[in-house]
Each structure stands twice: as C-alpha cells, then as structure tokens.
C-alpha cells in the first residue's frame, strides 16, 4: 500500500505527465470547440433553389427535377422555371436561386454565382442524369425491349450497393468525430506513464531500476503495484477529460455515460500497456523510447481521424485491417457505436478488440519484465 501511495504521488506531481494526460487533451478540445463550435448550424440542409431555362425543350429532364421537388422523402430541389436567361440571371444575382440550368436539348449549361456544396449537388445531379440518359439511349438503340428494365434497374438504389442505415444514436454532427479521436488520443497518452514506470523497473534502463532490482521486494509485485497505481491515477484524469468534453464542451456521446466511461478506461489500459511494451522491447536510450511512445499515440490518433476525419474511411477502403487493430480507431468506433449508431453489438466488438490488444501488449511486456538478470548495465 505504501508503494501504491507513492506511485500515485509520483504521477500526481509529474508536471510532464499531467500536461500530456490532462492539459493537452483539454486544450486541444478547446481548440476544436472554437473551430467547430458553430459549424453544426450551417449543416442543417435545406432544399436547393434551382432555376431552369428551356431554350430547346427537354421534358424528361425538367419533369425529373420537378419529380424530385415533389418527392416527400427526397425534397432536394425547389425548381423555378424562367422564360429566358436574363430572368434567370436576375434571380441568380438577387439570390432567389443558387444556380440555374440552361437546357438546350441534350446540352446543359450550369450557371453559378459561387461554388459551394449546393451548386456541387446540382452539378452532380446534372452529370448523373447525362450519364444515365446516355446509357439508356444506347441500350434502347440496341435492344428497345430491354431499355425499360435497364432504366428501372439503374435507378434502383439496391443494385448499386447503397444501403440505408438508421442512425439510432443522438449525435449526427460530423464534427463530434474529432472529439472521439481526441479522447482516443488522450487514452493512448497513458502510454507515457507506462513507459516511465516500465523503465523504472529495469536495472539496465535506469539507476532507480537497478536499485529496485536489488531490493527484496519481488519485481512482479513492484510491477503490479505500479500498474494499478498508474491505472487508478490515469482513470481519474481520463474521467475528468471525459466529463469536460461531455459537459463543458457540450459534445454528445449518447445516453449511456457508463458505457462511454468503460471504453475510455479500457482504452487507458491499452495505452498504458503500450507504454510498458515500448519500455521493455524497444532497445536504446530513454529519449528514443519516449520518441517511440509519442509516435505510437500520435500515429494511432492520426489513423483514427484526429487530424483528418476521413482517414478511417480511406483506410477502410485501402487497408481495412488497420482499422481493426489500431487502438485509436477502435476507441473512435466504440464512441460512434454508442453516440451515432446506437449499436451495442458493434460497441462490444470494439471494446473487446481493444481489451485483447491491451492484454497482448501486457503479456509481451511482462515476458520481458520477468527478466531477472541483464547482459549489461
């Protein structure tokens, strides 16, 4: 108990440790809050006002636009028809419409005032229409009987691999993703604690390690005491970070705070174990091990989407295995499972994966730590 108490004291008084564990994530969270705090309001999507000028008739296109306007679930466009380009241009300038389309038979000209998400949407629609229309036309020329079936199939969303997923969670803001990644990184920063404690147990790494190795208290007992103290200390710090992110920065992590806390603690365990792994397996001086440790949590966080929210999606396409084994991604996915999808099964998969990785880190670390004699000191 005495050793446990001093281990807690050492962690509490370590300015460097407190900075990485508490100050850094809170500060980064504050930056995120300022950067993304108001962005959610801009993303409330409303229908796009589109002007149409038919210089040469194209009933199919105009009808399709109107059909989309009428569709209850897909109320994407508000269509304004103009007699000539001048009227449409006036509407564009006074911001009645975001864009207008000049239809000249099969030719479409898109006129915009500025490029933004809404004009991009209209352009995508026009491009898609042109592409599909050409395809149907070609099929109709070759086999008119198949044209109808082909057209139906083309617009059937299932056939092109789209699947609608119901978001049962409360949070739909894409920016909360950054806070998930931030918490993921904060958990993995525990590796710095693991690194320090791991080195202080090895006679060939620090003089404190040598002094502890010549004492009659078994090394494994010292390791367990240190580990439990680090876990306790870091769990408290992470709870503070979590509470600050949820209640001070106002990020929505879903209804079940207990489960959010649980995955945070499991993440802390994995981070801590990662630090012990680096302390025991990476050869070289203290500075090299510290650099490795920083690289571990920074790279893991980057791959988990801390700097670029799209990163996990890119990896899912290019190298999905990384998303299955990267601790930061598993943490982000666990948070998302709760807050966005409300999917407890996916949550459990992520937490268990994280736990397994942490346990593996720990097994490898203990295997090295059990060494009782050293080749050189």
């Amino acid at each position: 108990m005495q050793q446990f108490g001093y281990s807690i004291k050492r962690s509490l008084r370590s300015i460097e440790g407190i900075f990485w564990a508490l100050v850094f994530p809170l500060f980064l969270g504050l930056i995120f809050k300022f950067m993304f705090g108001n962005l959610g309001t801009y993303e409330q999507f409303s229908e796009v006002a589109v002007g149409v000028v038919e210089q040469t008739e194209n009933d199919v296109f105009v009808e399709m636009l109107k059909e989309i306007e009428m569709e209850e679930d897909l109320h994407m466009f508000e269509v304004f028809e103009y007699e000539n380009v001048d009227e449409a241009e006036k509407a564009l300038q006074n911001e009645t419409v975001y864009t207008y389309i000049v239809v000249d038979g099969d030719e479409f000209t898109l006129m915009i005032r500025k490029m933004d998400i809404y004009t991009s949407l209209v352009k995508s629609f026009v491009d898609q229409y042109k592409q599909n229309y050409t395809l149907i036309e070609e099929v109709a020329k070759k086999d008119p009987k198949q044209a109808v079936a082909f057209a139906t199939n083309l617009f059937d969303s299932d056939s092109i691999g789209l699947e609608e997923i119901e978001l049962k969670g409360q949070d739909k803001s894409p920016y909360t993703q950054y806070f998930y990644a931030l918490l993921g990184m904060a958990c993995l920063i525990a590796s710095m604690y693991g690194l320090g404690h791991g080195m202080d147990l090895q006679a060939d790494m620090t003089t404190i390690g040598a002094r502890r190795n010549v004492a009659p208290t078994p090394k494994m007992q010292q390791f367990v005491t240190d580990f439990l103290a680090s876990m306790t200390m870091y769990s408290v710090l992470m709870t503070i970070v979590l509470v600050a992110v949820v209640y001070v920065y106002g990020q929505d992590f879903g209804d079940n705070f207990g489960l959010v806390w649980l995955v945070t603690i499991v993440g802390t365990f994995t981070g801590l174990a990662g630090g012990y792994l680096i302390a025991t397996w990476v050869k070289g001086p203290k500075g090299k091990k510290e650099a490795m440790c920083i690289a571990f949590f920074m790279v893991s966080s980057f791959l988990g989407g801390l700097q670029m929210a799209e990163m996990p999606y890119i990896l899912e396409e290019k190298c999905p295995i990384i998303n299955r084994i990267n601790p930061a991604t598993l943490l982000v996915n666990a948070y998302k499972s709760l807050a966005v999808f409300g999917d407890y099964q996916q949550y459990a998969v992520n937490v268990i994966s994280l736990l397994v990785i942490g346990v593996l880190f720990m097994i490898f670390s203990v295997a090295k730590l059990r060494r009782t004699k050293y080749a050189s000191i």
């Binding site: 005495q2 050793q3 001093y6 004291k9 050492r10 008084r13 370590s14 006679a203 620090t206 003089t207 404190i208 040598a210 002094r211 502890r212 190795n213 010549v214 004492a215 009659p216 208290t217 078994p218 010292q222 009782t372 004699k373 050293y374 080749a375 050189s376 000191i377």
Partner: protein, 310 residues
C-alpha cells in the same frame, strides 16, 4: 564469510571484463576495490548483486549462492549506486521512506529508520525538499540515505563520491566509517586512492578484470621495492652532481625538473642524510625538503607500469 567470489568470468562480446576474479570479504571489514575506470569494479558489484549475467564462476553472499531471488540475502544488503537513484517527484523524506519500504514493511519501524537515516546524513533541514533543489553533495547524501536506511549488514558503495565537493566527501567518508563501527561490512569501490587508503581495512587492486594485488594498505606497499620519495627544491643542479646522487645506495631513480630534484629510494636507512650530505659537500644550496612514503598509486604503477588515473 560475508562475500565469496570464485573464478568469476564476465565477457562483453570479445572484451573480458572479469577474468577469473576471486575475492573473499570477512564480516566487519571495510573492503576497498581500487582500480582505474574500466578495470571491472562496477561489473564485479553488479554480478555480486545478481543484476548481471556472468559466464563462469560462483558468488556467495552470507554463505548462500546469490541469485535474483535471494530475497533473504537481499534484505541485508544496502546499495549506493554510482549515479544518484531517487525519484524527482518525491521529497527527501518520501524517497528514503519509499526505498526503505522495499525492505521494511512495518510502518512504525520504517518511520524510525527513516528518521535515523535522515539524521545520519544530516539532511534534517531538507526533509521536505525535492531532489532538484538539492546541491550535488546533498543529493549524494540522500542517495546514501536511501541505500542504508534499512540498516543492512552489508553495504556496497559504488564510487559514491564522484563529483562531490570536499566537504560532502569528508562527511560521506566519516559516515561510512561510522556505519562500519556500528557493525556493517562495507565494500567500497573507487578510483580515488586517497579515499580507499583513508577508510579501507583491506584493499583489492583491480586492472583489466583481474585482482592484481590484495591486502591491507601496508601489506600492499610492502609488496613493492619503493621505500620513499625525497623531493628537494634546488635552484640549479649540475649534471655531475645528479650523476653522483644516482649512485648513492638504494637510489632507484633520479629526476630534476622545474628546479625540483626527486629521488626514489628503495627500502633502506639513512637515505635522506646521505642525499643532504652530497648536496652540502658540493655546496649546492637548497630550500624545501619533503619525504613521501609510497602511495597506492606507486603500488599500482610498479605492478602495472601505469598510473591509476591513466
């Protein structure tokens, strides 16, 4: 027998750090391991503490083979490392209490021992200081307190006075003698021959991993031919007179540099009188005259042909 090392061999690749090294240390001794840097002193200590793997040989401490799990033996050993080994985040008191806690589980007993250790190293005024606020000398004293607070029967000090000011060094040396008077056996490694001469009852001189000489300081000095070195300050010394001095009985070597005549004599009587008679006879004026008995450096020099600090 407190320590018995037999035929110890330790290699680092091609380098033989300990070459069939033997050592026996009796209870109550202050045993000095003297040798230049790289002679194998620290390697011997690390093997003795079961920290280092070795290639051959046996090590016994308190009559039992020393292994990493020799917890009963370890309870009675205190170690003061060459580099300071304390936690920067803990105060002086807490550091001593922490390391003492690795040996003594009883809280009350530990409290008493920690207080005694603080008093012993005279850090009473610094008990709430963190190590970073201590000077080099005070830090060394804290390092010692952490190693001896549990009152070990065998205390191993590996160059504890490196980079320490003379005042702190004297306090450390006095402390070691006091610990020995209280019953502890001490192993003291150093490359400072003056320290070893001052406190050690028996000395082993090491070079290239071998025990090249062993005994009390008088026994060691008795192993060499040198009896005394006489230095005389002379303004000018003709070559002929220098030659005459070189032919006096027991003279081993004569040098004259920077107006200082140095004559090394083998053991024998009346060396000083004979030397001064020659100078008087040749009407050579002289100032200060000093006579030095052989040092351990002379012993090392005569055995190995090099200085201890080469």
């Amino acid at each position: 027998m407190v320590v018995k090392i037999e035929n110890l061999v330790k290699r680092y690749g091609d380098l033989v750090a300990l070459d069939h090294f033997n050592l026996e240390i009796e209870e109550g001794e202050v045993f000095g391991l003297l040798g230049p840097n790289g002679s194998g002193k620290s390697t011997t200590i690390n093997c003795l503490l079961a920290l280092l793997e070795y290639d051959k040989g046996t090590i016994e401490v308190f009559g039992e083979e020393m292994t990493p799990t020799s917890y009963e033996s370890k309870k009675n050993i205190g170690v003061i490392m060459q580099n300071v080994a304390v936690f920067d985040e803990l105060t002086v008191y807490e550091n001593i209490d922490y390391f003492c806690g690795l040996y003594i589980k009883d809280k009350n007993e530990r409290k008493k021992l920690v207080e005694e250790a603080i008093e012993f190293v005279e850090l009473q005024d610094y008990r709430k200081f963190r190590p970073k606020k201590l000077s080099g000398g005070l830090l060394r004293r804290l390092n010692i307190a952490c190693g001896i607070a549990h009152k070990p029967k065998l205390i191993i000090l590996d160059e504890p006075t490196v980079a320490v000011d003379p005042q702190s060094r004297n306090k450390i040396l006095e402390g070691i003698q006091k610990l020995n008077q209280e019953g502890a056996t001490v192993i003291y490694t150093s490359h400072y021959m003056e320290e070893v001469e001052q406190i050690c009852t028996r000395i082993a001189i090491m070079d290239k991993g071998k025990n090249i000489a062993l005994g009390t300081k008088d026994e060691l000095k008795g192993m060499i031919d040198l009896g005394e070195t006489i230095s005389v300050e002379i303004l000018e010394l003709p070559e002929a007179v220098k030659e005459e001095i070189a032919h006096l009985p027991h003279v081993m070597n004569v040098t004259y540099e920077n107006h200082l005549l140095k004559v090394r004599f083998s053991k024998g009587k009346h060396n000083l009188i004979r030397l001064l008679d020659v100078l008087k006879e040749k009407e050579i004026g002289f100032a200060g005259v000093h006579s030095e008995l052989p040092t351990l450096n002379d012993v090392f020099l005569e055995i190995t042909g090099k200085e201890l600090r080469d």
